[in-house]
Symmetry: C2
Subunit: 601 residues, 2 copies
């Protein structure tokens, strides 16, 4: 089993035959075929034990004097030593001849073959108990940076946990290399130089991270230059640009960018081929699919763009939407279903264009994913887990695009369900007027998910004593707003109007964040004194919360999806006792109407 | 890294934000945006260190009093403490706000998610340094059988190496279980019972192998019946029929068939779903392709047939051919490119029909495989290794169907190249007359691979003193022949005719084997005294060899393939010095014309 997944260094030939003797293929009796030729239904032939037959089980060796096996079912036992047959045996019947499975000297496996479970079986059958494999290339990982600390639960201001090294090591191990994590080295030319010198002595290649750019403390390129040779500095890609490639004492040394997304893409471009080349294997390719762009994706010429995408299979079509393109957002790699590559000479693609996407997840998973778009709510995270638990082949993804964005996604056929909480100030009603306005052509169903408390998220203890919207007028107080199209933004605008206030009255009105948690994070971080959001977000940061309104949060879906197997699964999970309990444990929620059809067209 | 590949037991939420402070996204200076508004190309603004700016590197925290970063490229240094800018900064520019990557409280991963390298990064970024994972289900493996021995290099008569257990354990590990190998138990009811009782105490489920049939020493079903409950005995499949499924003390116990192919298929059908169910995951599915049947595949009604297939991508079409259907041939699983399933109610498929094949190898490997059909020669094994070494993304497979079979495969477009050595007794020429007769419509090229010695393969020391074909007439001497259509068979028939002999003069003429190695194995096993074959086969079994003739072994290919990139790669590998040396080291070969075009049409 040590050989599982390893790569054969030489062709593997069988040492012995399997079976290496003529073996019975059945439970029965061994006979000499030529002495059974007279047997006939009308003229049964009696056989004597020892002389004419011997009882034999599957796998037993055929005794020298015999050359055929008769199945026990076709034998009639007269007495202990006398058996009778009514049909002759033909020579070699029901006998596994020597080498039926593997013949000694036969090629079992070629060189440069990745060993699978069944290959181990064939080798052991052929007497091969030791197999020469290609050694895993040793890849040294040197994380550099004075701000880096080893990952821990409590990160202090100014500290960055060093997690790229773990990701590198995991990828390298997956590809078949042996990662060697060298530990954090501070931004110091001499110390980095020493680390590289030590690493090239003991490894097959070296990965440095970060310091690959051209800044004042970016030592990578200078260190490689002094110790060996820089072959390339900078690649025309976005993200991924600041890469250094060189060699020191004949060993490849790669300087990878610090931003996680840049780093992981560059690792795949430059380290993965090294590993496979070392093992003499071709790099596995990912599946590509054609998908329709749900949004425009722009690019500038002169660099290849790599855009992480979510993909939904909605109504028989793959719809792809870009995730954030910021190179620092690890979560965008976690959430990505695939990667869109925009060539150097392209200005990007228009909404509705068909593009090629390289898949990060198996196609069947994407096909079995319920795509949620719309407002974010923390109960959606619980729902995703509950659905996958109830049906392990089903997945749920959600894109936080605000309530209005959700309605538009349903209209464009880009999502299965949308979370909406839009207050209509004319009718005093939630959601229905908006949905009626935008979704005239398709029959839809609006199902309640939860009622939830919206309120002022403030520092713990509410030091500024914020109670009502008028308090936000105060000098020196900074507000953090939600983006246009968000239900919470609509609610804030409504409260503002009711109080006879204008946007200019609230300092920070134009600073928009995209989720309840981001708003809470801004308050927790001290860059804002107040924001409107849900209780669970305030609780996540141990902040204060002043209730303002209870609002209805519904799920909008087409009737087609509602009635589908996936839609009904969603309903049954939502209305389960277990889900209700989990939601109410969050605080600030009521499930009194969960699963109830609020409106349908 | 311990978590890599494991399955989350709960949804994972971020403990801290990443970054958890406002951090500079650039190398430059931190400023207060509002104090830079007057800066203009025509009215540069001077900034004082400390009061107006602070030098800052990427990742550094933004000092309390500042709220924007200006890139160092856009700053003009007047003196040590005075910098100048010509453009105002906007608030929060080039700042990574708290939680840009991960916001504390945010869902990082759902439950029942298989952890990938990038997921580890996101968790560490979010302060998650410990992750609850689902424990791997423990699967006990109990090999039973008195004839079983642990795998070794030298297997004695009557011994069967126990290799199924290793294959089971490897598959189980691949799927995410923890295999527990219990060691061989002899065919003894009490001992097997004890082993099962012990295993259900310490494992989550139990696999027994073999003894799952209904023979006299097949104890599995009786043991399960006594200790627990038998739910099912026998499945309507071929291979795979004798499966027992039951439970003992609430733990699933599966009795798997002894024949390797049956065992591995049944393991996938019955143990794999258990593992994935335990982990709360859906089973990954294999890729399916449509392929054209190169041969008829028959089936009988009443059982589902599972046929291992080779697949070649020849001239833009996938051609699938069945491998042996014997359940004891592990090598057929090793060689299989995919699996054809014939439903219970079907009688099989005709040649040329399009069928669905479940792939065992990645599609791109199949598309990059040179398909050889025809006569077997040991130099083909060397060639396969040499090609893959020269171009790691290229593979070569070969089916041993005899020289005539190879010509027909080329004609039907089912192979890229065919090894042929057909002697024409009318012209005294090799190959060309046959190829001319059967390949009239396509332009083809005949390239020499080797010349090789054919001779009498006899026991070591040639105890019967066989020298010429007439010696085979002797009483009590048993010959082993090759199948019709094999070049060696044609040669033997020619020798027979020359000597004025008839098939009846040779005892064993009708016993046909399919390769040189099988013939040698028969002689080595003592069931034949002589066969015609090549020197390397005799050497593999340390047998005697009496040279009879040197023959020409050519590769037949269409001109289209010959001129293709793959064809030219084949030629360059064949004519390499390294390959020539390896071939000549085998003995009995000459490479004097290797790579030479012998004939073309």
């Amino acid at each position: 089993m040590d050989a599982l997944g390893r790569v054969t260094a030489e062709p593997i030939f069988a040492e012995v035959s399997m079976p290496n003797y003529h073996a019975s293929a059945m439970d029965g009796i061994a006979v000499k075929a030529s002495s059974t030729y007279s047997a006939h239904e009308k003229n049964p032939l009696k056989l004597r034990r020892g002389t004419d037959f011997q009882v034999i089980d599957t796998g037993d060796p055929i005794p020298e004097q015999f050359d055929a096996v008769i199945m026990i079912e076709n034998v009639h036992m007269i007495d202990e030593d006398t058996y009778e047959i009514i049909e002759p045996a033909s020579p070699w019947q029901h006998i596994r001849q020597i080498g039926e499975d593997v013949v000694a000297g036969e090629l079992i496996l070629p060189a440069h073959h990745v060993l699978r479970p069944v290959d181990l079986g064939a080798m052991l059958a052929g007497g091969v108990v030791e197999v020469p494999v290609i050694s895993r290339p040793k890849a040294a990982i040197i994380p550099t940076g004075t701000e880096l600390v080893y990952p821990k639960k409590k990160i202090e201001r100014g500290e960055i946990p060093e997690f790229n090294g773990t990701v590198f090591a995991s990828y390298l191990q997956t590809w078949g290399a042996e990662p060697v994590y060298k530990g954090i080295v501070e931004d110091n030319y001499v110390k980095i130089k020493e680390a590289v010198l030590e690493a090239v002595e003991t490894s097959d290649f070296v990965l440095m991270n970060a310091g690959s750019s051209a800044g004042s403390e970016d030592f990578t390129v200078h260190v490689i230059q002094e110790l060996g040779e820089v072959m390339m500095h900078g690649v025309a890609t976005r993200p991924g640009k600041p890469v250094v490639i060189g060699q020191v004492k004949g060993k490849p040394v790669i300087g990878l960018p610090g931003y996680p997304v840049s780093a992981y893409l560059a690792l795949e471009w430059f380290a993965r081929p090294l590993v496979y080349k070392y093992l003499g294997l071709s790099e596995p390719v990912r599946t590509n699919i054609k998908a329709t762009l749900g949004r425009r994706v722009v690019s500038v010429m002169g660099a290849e763009d790599f855009v992480r995408m979510t993909i939904g299979a909605v109504r028989g079509k793959f719809i792809a939407n870009p995730l954030t393109r910021a190179a620092g957002v690890t979560m965008s790699m976690v959430r990505a279903d695939g990667l869109l590559r925009i060539p150097t000479t392209s200005l990007g693609y228009e909404q509705g264009e068909e593009v090629d996407i390289e898949l990060y997840r198996p196609l069947e998973q994407i096909e079995n994913t319920m795509v949620f778009a719309g407002s974010h709510d923390m109960t959606l995270d619980l729902l995703a887990t509950a659905i996958h638990k109830a049906a392990p082949d089903r997945f749920m993804s959600s894109a936080h695009v605000g309530s209005m964005g959700g309605i538009l996604a349903i209209r464009k056929g880009e999502a299965h369900a949308a979370g909406v909480h839009l207050f209509d100030e004319n009718t005093g009603e939630y959601n229905i007027p908006f949905v009626n306005q935008y979704l005239r052509d398709v029959p839809y169903v609006l199902v309640n998910l939860v009622y939830r408390q919206q309120g002022w998220i403030v520092p713990s203890g509410n030091p500024l004593g914020i109670q009502k919207i008028e308090d936000l007028k105060r000098d020196g107080l900074t507000y953090i707003n939600r983006q246009r199209g968000a239900g919470t933004r609509l609610l804030f605008d409504y409260l503002l109007k009711q109080a006879g206030m204008k946007p200019e009255d609230v300092y920070g009105y134009n600073r928009e964040d995209f989720s309840h948690l981001s708003v809470a994070a801004a308050v927790a971080g001290g860059t804002a004194d107040c924001g409107l959001g849900i209780l669970s977000a305030a609780k996540a940061f141990q902040l204060g919360f002043v209730p303002v309104a209870e609002e209805r949060y519904d799920l909008l879906m087409t009737r087609e999806f509602y009635e589908s197997e996936a839609g009904q699964l969603l309903l049954s999970v939502m209305t389960s006792e277990r889900f209700r309990r989990q939601v109410e444990d969050l605080g600030g929620y009521s499930c009194r109407d969960t699963g109830k059809v609020v409106y349908e067209s």
